[in-house]
Amino acid sequence: MTDYLIKNGFVFDPVQGINGDKVDVAIKDGKIVDAGDVTNPTVIDATGMTVMAAGVDIHAHVAGPKVNMGRNFRPEDKLFNCTAGSGIKRMEGGFSVPTVLRTAYLYARMGFGFSMEAAMPPLYARHTHEEIRDTPIIDQGALPVFGNNWFVLEYLKEDEIENTAAYIAWLLNQTKGFGIKCVNPGGTESWGWGLNCEKVDDVVPYFDVTPRQIVSGLIKANEYLGLPHCTHIHGNSLGEPGNYGITLDTLKIAEGIKPQNDFGREVVLHNTHLQFHCYGGESYASKSFESKSKEVVNYINSVDNISYDLGVVTLDETTTMTADGPFEHHLSHMNNLKWANTDVELETGSGIVPFIYNPKTFIAGAQWAIGLECGLFIKDPMRAYVTTDAPNAGPLCRYPRVYKWLMSAKARDDVLDNTLKYGDRIRERCYIGELDREISLYELAMMTRAGPAKTLGLSHMFGSLKPGLEGDVAVYPYNPETDTDDPEKIEYAFGNAAYLIKGGKLIVKEGEIVDMGNKRTFWVNAKVNENPMVERDIAEKFRRYYTVTQNNYTVKGPHFVPNPYVIEVDSTK
């Protein structure tokens, strides 16, 4: 394997406290080493460029059944934007829901090395893994959804944490999943009858359990197992005016719970796409709707065991997709566009609706502002991560644009003054007008690699350039000394990495993708004590209520996960 030495770049590595210093970065046998430890390396001249560990995406919808439904039912999302293969690249296409090839190439061009697929319906795990397998370059994992699963609902009604944990361990193993995702706890099961759970103390029909019990139980089971990642939550009433109170109720469930794990993770609850959960007011009208990002982030600032990602609205035509079935139904009534929904037996559901965040409307502008506010109010950027909840708030390809907005008050003012129709009104109803903070490159490195790596329990592999970590390095054509004059340079540079080294392989060379890398699928094998009751429950449910046999449920073999990276945890001690 080739050794690499990246010389003369401005290096940003918050984990090591390196803030723009010119430090040489060396890679040997696929790992970061001290610069002195490489012999005869290929030298990459990063003069005038920014060097960071490769990006880590904690939450994106890029693989699996609903993503593919998003592709297949939106040919118009690909009209005139499919491009031919060139060099070693295959053909690619799609704007808001790119094909797996475009997803991989986009991540590479943005300097990313790891992406977490944010929602995997267990029964469809094979599908998710087939797409992950066919997405080259980047390492990926997937989070199975648990918040509406019948086993979980039944166990947590009685607060049976050990049984819940045993079931979770079994399911992670069956589906080759990475951790616990919880979407609209209880609400999606209620959607099986066309209903919803809007507040944390609403009762799930028949199962007689509340979202509060589900969230609390999942967090406890997560820490019981000592999983690398914490419970990853999309709470109730996403996108509803006035939902910030429900968000605070959800976050407070984690109060006093301490992280238990061997991976250096410090949080127990990750609230994903916080933007959608910070709304005040009673309707979407500008006289009522208001931002509550400050209230929510202030609470998170006041505790130490919660992280979140932003979910910034990028003002594009995009495709919304979530396991929050009732929300998508609601959305389909707002814009009258096509609506796909799939309820999944015993487990979960999902919905998909195209959506246009039209900058000529007040509400889209307000959502845009709130997402950025969530990034600007954070005190510790190690706990706030940049996402667009791709493709829900905006397409994956817009990450660099979000960086631009976070890093430049001028760029934000430009949107408020020139792009948005109701910029002034949005300044009044949101906090964006009072925020002049500009995220630094050092902070950006926290919000896009060091932080997410830590919360995923992967800081021993990703997120930093510390010797011993994976040889995942991105070099961006951005000179932090001279390129500060024009925010557009930020967007360009972070969307067009000059170099990406992934696992010690040179993937992007002078802006061109030259290697498909050695893609791995990460999953967590959690060992638990034998639990005959849970085993019996599983067998019973398969015999009576599933439409596949228990033996045919297991994702196995090289076809689905040809290059696994298994993280072992053991809660039997």
Partner: protein, 266 residues
């Protein structure tokens, strides 16, 4: 106005894809440059010169350019696609996608055209002195934005799915029309001067359809309202007004529900 004359020299064995034949692309180019422009036959790349003799030259801009095709191009797709200005005249038959996604200018086809003409069109004029195929002025697959502006006039008959997901503009069909007219229509006007078959205005939200001749089977979601005398496209007539589709969603304006309107001429 500068004129480019393209005369077909051979019929493609398969089909020629020639989206470069628009005033926009030909503007600013001389005959040799135009002959060198690419077209595609299957996976092979060809030049327009392989299939046409080229006379004249494009004007400075699309608006200054007239393109004339003298001859049969019934095995040539995408003529006038995305055209924004200027004029394009086809003296012969043409294949699919004539004027697809056009935004301005004028296309005249003195002959028949095949399906998907004026797909997703937002402006300009498409005149067909002959018959048109299916999906005239409709939306591309999956899109909810069909024809949004401009005008399509067909002197002969038209196929099925005319004006599917239409949102604006006008389509006039001089002759008869096949099934599914104005399906999912949400704006604009369709005038059918001949007979329609079935499925006129199915799932119609808004917009106006006039049918001068017969409709074989009326959609069950249309209700007769009243008779009116109207002038439509220069013709005066006595019409029965139906509103629908009652099975479909409708918006309200000042408390009044807005339906799609279907006028049948007596």
């Amino acid at each position: 106005m500068a004129k480019v004359i393209l005369t077909p020299t051979q019929t493609p064995t398969l089909f020629l894809e020639a989206e470069n034949i628009t005033p926009d692309v030909l503007a600013g180019k001389n005959a040799a440059e135009i002959a060198a422009l690419h077209g595609f036959v299957g996976k092979t790349t060809v030049t327009l010169g392989d299939y046409f003799t080229v006379e004249g030259a494009g004007g400075q801009t699309a608006a200054d350019t007239t393109v004339v095709i003298n001859g049969d191009v019934s095995r040539v797709k995408y003529i006038g696609m995305k055209m924004s200005a200027g004029e394009l005249i086809v003296n012969g038959n043409a294949d699919m996608y004539v004027g697809g996604w056009m935004t301005g200018g004028k296309i005249t086809v003195n002959g028949d055209i095949d399906a998907f003409a004026g797909l997703g069109m937002t402006g300009g004029e498409l005149i067909v002195n002959g018959n048109a195929g299916n999906y005239l002025g409709a939306a591309y697959r999956g899109d909810w934005r069909g024809m949004q502006g401009g005008e399509i006039r067909v002197s002969g008959s038209a196929g099925s799915d005319v004006g599917t997901f239409m949102r604006g503009g006008t389509i006039v069909v001089g002759g008869n029309i096949d099934v599914h007219v104005g399906t999912h229509m949400e704006g604009g006007t369709i005038i059918v001067k001949g007979d329609a078959k079935t499925r006129v205005g199915g799932q119609m939200v808004k917009g106006t359809i006039y049918v001068y001749g017969d409709i074989d089977v009326m959609m069950p979601g249309f209700q007769y309202r009243n008779d009116v005398d109207l002038e439509v496209d220069g013709d005066n007539g006595h019409f029965a007004l139906y509103e629908g589709d009652m099975g479909e969603r409708h918006s309200k304006k000042k408390g009044v529900v807005i339906y799609g309107q279907l006028y049948m001429k007596y």
